[in-house]
């Protein structure tokens, strides 16, 4: 039996051939090393993230997450739900809280769920993987698994928005969270605790609909990473990762910058530090290669 066990909700962007499929690969590797068993919620659906609101009203949106929680309660009873995607975590926890506070909405959500033969008890805590790492596993246990310290790499910890607000990690500040920096240090790399853009918004879904406004913010995130001497940026969020990595050429063309900054997940760093291969760490999923990590992974 695994040391830790969770009901797991990977989310749309982590599916095969989707934009953060590399995140899931590295999370699976990381969990193998930490003896965390992830039991997928069977037949989970999209949570509608934070951009579903134009078409989806309150009840339809909450019902989406209610279905995932209900499926988890039916198939993985007694297990806390863990999400790796910031938007999945936020939407699911928000739905659980909102339905928990409003009996009328809860009754309506269950009427809708009954159409799919499901029932929500709403008794399941919903966590982000970062919470599991910091609060359950802990830095000491993570440190004990490090086989190849990430020495000589300076890393800007970019927490972003939705992993940090409105819920965040217990005991951490919204304005200056430190857990990602501590994690970077634990893995033997050098953190940048005063990286001033650590909780700056990247535009989220508006990177698609308002590219110029979003890229102006992404430029600031990258510029600050360079100014602080970072070799790469690490983030816990699929949208942050994609937005900060993939638009660098467009930003360079527009602003005359020369950005070529790798942006990786915490799970990428951990997979490499735990001694796993480039493939297991999903370094082949980088569009801007993280060469310093490739050298260590071999």
């Amino acid at each position: 039996m695994a040391k830790y066990e969770y009901s797991f909700y990977p989310g749309c962007s982590s599916q095969k051939g989707a934009s953060s499929s590399n995140y899931l690969t590295s999370v699976e590797t990381m969990c193998e090393e930490l003896d965390i068993q992830l039991n997928h919620i069977p037949d989970w659906n999209c949570c509608s993230a934070s951009i579903g609101y134009a078409g989806g009203g309150e009840l339809p949106r909450l019902t989406l997450s209610a279905r995932n929680i209900a499926l988890s309660e039916e198939h993985n009873p007694g297990q806390e739900i863990v999400a790796t995607c910031a938007a999945c975590w936020l939407a699911t926890r928000e739905a659980s809280e909102r339905l928990g506070e409003d009996d009328e909405l809860m009754a309506e959500a269950n009427t809708a769920l009954a159409e799919a033969g499901l029932k929500l008890k709403n008794e399941t805590p919903i966590k982000h993987m970062a919470e599991v790492l910091v609060e359950e596993v802990g830095y000491d246990e993570i440190a004990s698994k490090v086989k190849k310290p990430l020495e000589g790499i300076k890393i800007a910890g970019y927490v972003g928005c939705q992993t940090n607000r409105p819920f965040g990690i217990h005991g951490e500040s919204y304005e200056n969270p430190k857990y990602l920096d501590k994690l970077v240090d634990t893995l033997g790399a050098e953190s940048i605790p005063d990286y001033e853009k650590k909780v700056q918004c990247c535009g989220g879904a508006l990177a698609f609909s308002e590219p110029d406004k979003s890229q102006e913010m992404i430029k600031g995130i990258l510029e600050a990473a360079y100014d602080n001497g970072a070799d790469m940026v690490v983030t816990p969020c699929p949208v942050c990762q994609m937005n900060v990595e993939v638009y660098q050429d467009q930003i360079n063309a527009k602003y005359g910058t020369k950005f070529k900054m790798p942006v990786v997940y915490y799970s990428t760093l951990m997979s490499v530090a735990f001694g796993r291969s480039s493939k297991d760490a999903a370094l082949d999923g980088q569009i801007i290669r993280a060469k310093k990590l490739e050298e260590i992974a071999g």
Binding site: S21, N45, S50
Partner: protein, 206 residues
């Protein structure tokens, strides 16, 4: 009588009551103390014609058309800065989403607002199969303003797409069916029922 006209009749001269009854988390609007921390905290603040603090004041002043036809709420990136900083704990992000949704529902949102269009595409995409099909979503986004502009955008985005394909973070297989929930029929029935209940609530209030 359109829903919009019905709402004007019912809530004549009291837009605040209309918002409280019909907008998600709208009953919080009266709690705003006009400190402006939300407006100062918004990453896209400079692009809002009326930042959140002003929107709250305008609702209370009965500026119905100005609020509902505003581009402003569609600038919300869902960063939640305003929520965690608001001294009176208003769920500002959700109120902005709620106002945007209500404005769109009444047909008052600005016609070509890009985030409104993208957000609707996102909803349509996920409700079809229960999971987002990123490839189809991307293509529908590029072509949301017509074919000519779609080709231009596609060319502009070509290198990013190729990079994603090479990294196996995009799949052409998604064009043919793609990821889906297995119990699609149950999923659709569930959403339909949720929509009916939501509609009934709005009609009852209206």
């Amino acid at each position: 009588m359109s829903t919009n006209t019905a709402m004007i009749e019912k809530y004549r001269n009291n837009f605040l009551k209309e918002v409280e009854a019909n907008v998600e988390e709208g009953d919080w609007v009266k709690m705003c103390m006009q400190c402006g921390v939300c407006s100062g905290s918004c990453p896209l603040g400079k692009h809002w014609e009326h930042p959140p603090q002003e929107i709250f004041m305008m609702i209370r002043a009965g500026k119905r058309d100005e609020v509902l036809s505003s581009d402003s709420m569609w600038m919300c990136t869902s960063c939640y800065n305003c929520i965690v900083r608001c001294p009176r704990e208003l769920p500002i992000t959700h109120i902005m989403h709620g106002l945007a949704h209500y404005a769109k529902r009444l047909g008052l949102a600005p016609k070509n607002q890009p985030t409104m269009k993208f957000a609707q595409l996102f909803w349509d995409n996920l409700s079809k199969k229960g999971r987002v099909n990123e490839l189809k979503l991307g293509i529908s986004l590029y072509f949301m303003n017509g074919f000519g502009e779609g080709i231009k955008t596609s060319l502009k985005m070509k290198d990013i797409g190729l990079g994603m394909l090479k990294a196996k973070r995009m799949s052409v297989a998604e064009a043919f069916g793609g990821h889906s929930v297995k119990d699609l029929s149950g999923f659709h029935k569930m959403l339909k029922k949720a929509q009916e209940l939501e509609d009934a609530r709005l009609t009852q209030h209206g």
